[in-house]
């Protein structure tokens, strides 16, 4: 009995190895005014003090509505945007202070898949050149080896290697997304930010790409940060999920805990707003319809960020500062005055 518990805890410990640790991450975009002399008159707080960890081999979902800062978070983590403040540790190394060659070296280990497979592939490059470009930049393999490796990658993502000399316009949306995935895999990364990888695809193609991402994760032991607004797909693919609102994480936890027991009023309304493909269920569903729109991140409300739309806000939600994340059950954190 004791031995069993020991192995079990060891196993969870192994699973819980942190690959990415984000603390106090902020990304402000300046708002400037003036024609000759540009003065900063304000800031869009796209990401405003975000903390989270990503464990090795897991998929962390990052969900929220447009403008909530989920994509900016993904890009700031990868140092595609340099953060305004905060720290990003990846495989034990602090990324925010790295520059030039050091940063380029570590970028081999972390890659990104973009949303729009039409805009993210250079139309004048062949598939072979697109997928091998990272190998050329990082000086991996000679020309012949590269070609062989690219063919191997194409097979891996379900494309015919015969297509290596074709151009992106000759492919469908789903196939182009596979090319984008092959490019992301070229340098054998351990961590991939998937920024809405399926939202531009047809329904019947989405399942193909999601299955491919899951197969590759198992085969190559990949860790994903899966950015999406499709909450049904996130439930399927993610081990844990973080809900963002106006640049902050309002709730984070294991997927099933968050979906079965959403604590933040925003998460509750978000989940209730997702249509279910079942007319009988739809007939009986009670929606929590939020009034209004998301406030501008340049001018967030005083008090709790969500108080302008919150169905359960009370006086102190307008007076107290924005709530911090608090652990309610193991691994399940929420930032709401009404819950904590």
């Amino acid at each position: 009995m004791e031995i069993k518990t020991a192995t079990a805890s060891q196993e969870t410990k192994q699973q819980r190895e942190v690959i990415l640790s984000v603390r106090g991450l902020k990304k402000y975009f300046p708002i400037t005014s003036g024609i000759i002399v540009q003065r900063q008159v304000g800031a869009v707080k796209a990401v405003d003090a975000v903390d989270f960890d990503v464990y090795k081999g897991e998929t962390l979902g990052l969900v929220g509505e447009s403008g909530c800062g989920k994509s900016t978070t993904g890009r700031t983590v990868l140092q595609l945007y340099r953060p305004t403040a905060g720290s990003v540790q990846f495989e034990g190394e602090e990324l925010t202070t790295l520059r030039g060659e050091e940063l380029r070296r570590i970028r081999r280990r972390m890659q990104i898949i973009f949303q729009d497979p039409f805009a993210s592939l250079n139309p004048r490059m062949t598939v072979g050149n697109i997928v091998s470009e990272p190998l050329v930049i990082h000086n991996v393999y000679n020309k012949k080896q590269r070609r062989e490796f690219v063919e191997e990658l194409l097979v891996k993502v379900g494309l015919n290697p015969f297509y290596i000399n074709r151009y992106p316009h000759e492919f469908s949306g789903g196939q182009r997304q596979r090319i984008g995935i092959a490019r992301a895999l070229a340098l054998n990364p351990s961590f991939i930010v998937a920024d809405e990888p399926i939202s531009a695809l047809d329904v019947s193609i989405q399942a193909q790409v999601v299955n491919l991402l899951e197969d590759l994760q198992k085969e190559l032991n990949l860790t994903y940060l899966f950015i999406a607004h499709d909450l049904s797909m996130v439930r399927h693919i993610c081990d844990r999920v973080a809900v963002m609102y106006l640049g902050k994480i309002v709730e984070i936890g294991p997927t099933n805990l968050v979906y079965n027991n959403p604590l933040h009023p925003y998460t509750q309304s978000l989940l209730s707003a997702v249509p279910v493909p079942d007319p009988t269920v739809e007939e009986q569903r009670q929606r929590i319809i939020l009034g209004g729109d998301v406030p501008s991140p340049a001018n967030p409300p005083k008090g709790c960020n969500f108080n302008t739309r919150c169905p359960v806000a009370v006086d102190y939600c307008y007076q107290e500062p924005d709530p911090e994340l608090v652990e309610i059950e193991p691994g399940h954190f929420v930032a709401c005055h009404r819950v904590t």
Binding site: E65, Q175, V203, A207, N260, V276
Partner: protein
């Protein structure tokens, strides 16, 4: 309830430099007064083009309505002149589109765009039209409606712009509202607001609606009847519950199975996926367009002969399918075989 709209064998093609695009390949259905029809399909299924063809909104050339009729309240819309069509569009049939930013004119105030139709179709003067426009904005839930009439589209958020579009669409009390992916560009919480609004207005104004979308969840919540399109044809159609509970087309079944659900734990298994990609519409469709992606249920005949849309024998009246195979029988057979192999 009487028949409001009758579409008969509508065929639309585009004659482009790269060849003929077979966009709509024989679509026939009827819509009753007050009925909400949800049309589901992927890009290239012909769902939008068929609606645009009905309203004379496809560019001709390159587009051409090859044959068919669209009878709306006793008149064939296909045969109307441009001027006659303009009087139907907006007044009797209104349409709202996916992207409210590109369907509103950015250099005209919302008030100008709202009153245009009122003056043209209902013969109102400026003062009457202004008053009605403010009422309409109020009806679609835009606060401070009177003042907002003087605003330009960019001063509204995406959800608010779609409300403006709906107000314009409803301004002349149409009998039929055609909504082409009206919530696709919106966030889910805003989508829920818009759907709730449209449902309320539909019931109040007793209009019929055609809701075109790729989202089976939205259709499940809003429609009386669902129509699934693929390759420019209707592959299945029927009362919403009959089709969701007992799909008879392999494509409908595949779509339903491939969707993860927000209200249930999928169990962590792989998603059911439909192999292959949608058909190339530049090739003239012969047979069942879904046959190449349907290895489980297709028959030889699916490749050579186009299946007609016919009543499903053991389902409710109005449940129609275009398939040569008998889906429930084949599914049962597959189940039995699986069990046998399991033992």
């Amino acid at each position: 309830m009487g028949v409001l709209l009758e579409v008969n064998d509508l065929v639309t093609r585009f004659y482009t430099q790269e060849g003929i695009v077979y966009a709509v390949n024989g679509v026939s259905y009827t819509l009753n007064e007050g009925e909400t029809l949800g049309i589901v399909g992927e890009s290239g299924s012909g769902k939008s083009v068929h609606a645009l063809s009905m309203l004379g909104l496809i560019p001709m050339p390159p587009g051409k309505i090859e044959r068919g009729s669209v009878v709306f309240q006793g008149r064939d819309l296909v045969k109307l002149s441009k001027d006659e069509m303009r009087l139907v569009r907006g007044a009797e049939i209104a349409m709202i589109f996916q992207d409210p930013m590109t369907s509103l004119n950015p250099v005209l105030t919302v008030g100008t765009q709202l009153t245009e139709g009122l003056k043209l179709h209902l013969g109102m003067n400026q003062a009457q039209a202004d008053r009605r426009a403010a009422e309409l904005l109020d009806m679609v839930g835009i606060p401070d409606a009177r003042k907002r009439l003087a605003n330009y589209p960019h001063q509204f958020s995406g959800g608010m712009r779609q409300r403006v579009m709906i107000a314009i669409g409803l301004s002349c009390n149409p009998k039929l509202l055609i909504a082409d992916e009206p919530t696709t560009a919106l966030d889910v919480t805003i989508q829920a607001q818009i759907i709730e609004l449209v449902k309320r207005l539909r019931d109040e104004l007793k209009m019929a609606m055609i809701w075109i979308t790729h989202d089976l969840g939205v259709v499940a919540g809003i429609s009386d009847t669902i129509q699934v399109m693929y390759g420019g044809r209707i592959v299945e159609r029927g009362p919403i519950k009959a089709v969701f509970e007992n799909p008879r087309s392999a494509y409908t079944l595949g779509l339903l199975n491939s969707l993860p659900r927000v209200d249930a734990d999928g169990g962590g298994g792989r998603l059911h996926q439909i192999e292959g990609s949608p058909p190339d519409m530049r090739i003239e469709p012969i047979g069942d367009s879904f046959a190449p992606r349907n290895p489980l249920y297709r028959t030889e005949r699916c490749f050579t002969e186009t299946p007609p849309l016919r009543q499903v024998e053991d389902s409710v009246p109005g449940h129609l399918v275009a398939a040569w195979y008998d889906l429930p029988a084949l599914r049962k057979k597959h189940e039995m075989e699986k069990l046998k192999h399991g033992n």
